[in-house]
């Protein structure tokens, strides 16, 4: 009898530890793989109160000591954490009754763990590159940035396949590390549309009043307040939108640009029209996405653009900048409005169009939701990922290592 595939995944974050997009990605991917007859063992960093080992819907989750002594800097911590993770993962893999067939690493944050286990167990390594240092920083300017970039290059070199979540990222990663085309695979990121089904817009009337007056439309931004996310473009577009429509701008997230941004808002005399909420919890975020009249993603660099998918799943019309993965998710005038990147006029025009033309907004909303169900369903993504594992193992079975 053929036994199910046995996969070990490495991720520096897994719920309840949530820092960025990798945590929900690995959570939903591993759960959906389990439903598709793939046994997944996730090895991740520990989190206060979370158990060292638990089984979540068939996924084995191991949380290992993430190195808690003081570290000289973040990058050094990453390598020290990997030393611990690698030791623990080696012990876990060696004790399993069935051997691991494939190791799957997510980003450079677990690079040395993935590379090490590949060689000691002689099994293929897959890596999903969610982002790159050269993309995040728009170039390599410091020794730390170069070190991370070279670690990413090494990781993609050691990997049997490099998975990216958008065609844009495939092209970007191919360029950044000089990889051959046949080493790359595109599997989109998924979104869980079920979480938005719990509440309708009517139930949220009181909730909405906490953020905006009844006559104000809600323009929602969700993301870190950092340069690459283009939040400053949205802030600069606010007066142009307000000239044509009455709206409240709700800015969710935090980041190093926060003070600078609120100073700009103050200098424009628009403090009563802009609300900086900081970080909000999961439930309130879902509700906000549900009540938003438009969700804006003005990024300058965006490998994928999960926040646009979430808005589409919440049936909120989206206005995005035509860049990176965002440009692929959204089809202009069909599933959303695509603005010229780094262009306040274009962004303001799109927001006004959605806020003032109800027919257009409804058209975008309905098309977007249909695409979500067709393309970005986790079950379909898990099947694609399983297909990749099987293809790699087919090649492996003919290799010198088998």
């Amino acid at each position: 009898m053929k036994r199910p595939l046995n996969v070990m995944m490495f991720s520096w974050e897994f719920p309840p530890r949530v820092i960025g997009g990798i945590s929900p990605h690995v959570y939903f991917l591993s759960k959906s793989l389990a439903k598709n007859d793939v046994k997944v063992h996730v090895v991740t960093c520990d989190f206060p109160g979370a158990p060292e080992h638990e089984t979540i819907d068939g996924v084995e989750v191991y949380r290992v000591d993430s190195y808690k002594n003081p570290s000289p800097d973040f990058a050094t911590w990453v390598y020290l954490m990997n030393m611990n993770m690698q030791k623990e993962a080696a012990a876990i893999a060696a004790k399993l009754s069935e051997p691991i067939d494939v190791f799957h690493a997510h980003d450079w944050l677990v690079a040395t763990t993935g590379i090490g286990l590949k060689h000691v167990f002689r099994k293929p390594l897959l890596v999903t590159m969610h982002s790159t240092e050269i993309g995040r920083r728009d170039g390599l300017h410091t020794t730390t940035e170069r070190m991370i970039h070279e670690t990413e290059a090494w990781l993609t070199y050691e990997a049997w396949r490099v998975v990216c979540c958008s065609d844009y990222m495939v092209t970007h990663v191919k360029w950044a590390f000089g990889l051959p085309q046949d080493k790359l695979a595109m599997v989109p990121n998924g979104v869980n549309s079920h979480v938005y089904e719990g509440f309708g817009r009517h139930d949220l009337r009181d909730f909405r009043l906490k953020f905006a007056l009844p006559h104000e439309k809600i323009v929602l931004y969700v993301g870190r307040l950092v340069y690459e996310k283009g939040i400053h473009i949205l802030i600069n577009a606010i007066p142009k939108v307000l000239a044509k429509a009455d709206a409240k701008f709700v800015i969710v997230g935090s980041g190093y640009m926060q003070e600078q941004l609120s100073n700009i808002v103050k200098s424009m005399g628009l403090e009563h029209k802009v609300l900086f909420t900081g970080f909000v919890d999961e439930e309130n975020l879902l509700k906000l996405q549900k009540v938003a009249d438009v969700s804006v993603v003005p990024s300058l660099f965006e490998p994928f653009g999960i926040v646009a998918l979430e808005a589409m799943a919440a049936k909120s019309p989206v206005v995005v900048s035509d860049t990176g993965g965002l440009g692929e998710i959204v089809q202009h005038d069909v599933t959303g409005f695509k603005a010229y990147p780094n262009n306040t006029d274009s962004l303001a025009w799109g927001i006004v169009k959605v806020l003032t033309d109800d027919g257009y907004a409804r058209h975008l909303r309905e098309n977007a939701y249909r695409v979500i169900l067709e393309r970005y369903d986790w079950d379909k993504i898990a099947q694609q990922t399983r297909g990749l594992y099987e293809a790699v193992l087919g090649e492996y079975s003919k290799s010198a290592w088998e």
Partner: protein, 207 residues
């Protein structure tokens, strides 16, 4: 008996006294019928080679060229050391009896090999961070001490070159007396004593 020695210096790369020590030891181990492999670092002379004595040397370099500190350099280099040692294991019918690690640099690789492939290791102490940087408690020094501690904790056996060093290891890291063997390079029984440590270490079950 098949032993893999990890040392960050080995001729022609000579930093201190360790390179010569490991070189002489390897030659004598081969004479004592130990299949001896040395995994070491060299910037350019990478790959496998064989000494006139019959000792096999694998030199690896760091795939990551830019580094913020010695620690990131060491930890990334460990992956290549680990890969080289795993290759020795797989090329010899999955049989390596013991890994002998000199100082803290390649402890991370030895620890993973122990847990993954059931290969016990000996931690051979040349010097301690406490002596190299007395009293320093910056995160940089703490990280190195943490790695030394991991080495003492995970090792099947610890060796020191003098009674003084043995006492220091017990004082700084609370390693039990019976875990540490003093191997004096000037003793006539030196190589025999080393082989004895290897034999008893490889008898220690990992799991």
């Amino acid at each position: 008996m098949r032993a893999v020695l990890f040392s960050w210096e080995y001729p022609p790369r000579i930093v201190g006294k360790l390179a010569e020590y490991v070189s002489i030891l390897a030659t004598d181990l081969v004479k004592s019928s130990v299949d001896t492999h040395i995994v070491t670092y060299h910037e350019s002379l990478t790959g496998p080679s064989e000494e006139p004595s019959g000792a096999k040397v694998i030199r690896v370099t760091n795939p990551v060229r830019s580094h913020v500190s010695l620690i990131t350099w060491v930890l990334t280099l460990n992956q290549e050391v680990e890969r080289a040692a795993a290759n020795v294991y797989y090329q010899n019918q999955k049989n390596v009896n013991v890994v002998d690690v000199y100082d803290w640099h390649f402890i991370a690789a030895a620890v993973t090999l122990k847990h993954a492939l059931d290969i016990p290791f000996v931690y051979s102490v040349d010097s301690l961070e406490d002596h190299r940087s007395p009293g320093a408690n910056a995160p940089f020094n703490m990280a190195i001490r943490g790695i030394e501690w991991l080495g003492f904790f995970e090792a099947a056996a610890v060796t020191a070159k003098s009674d003084w060093m043995k006492n220091e290891i017990m004082r700084v890291y609370n390693v039990p007396n019976e875990k540490i063997t003093v191997l004096s390079p000037s003793a006539s029984t030196w190589v025999k004593d080393v082989v004895h440590v290897y034999n008893s270490a490889s008898g220690v079950a990992v799991k």
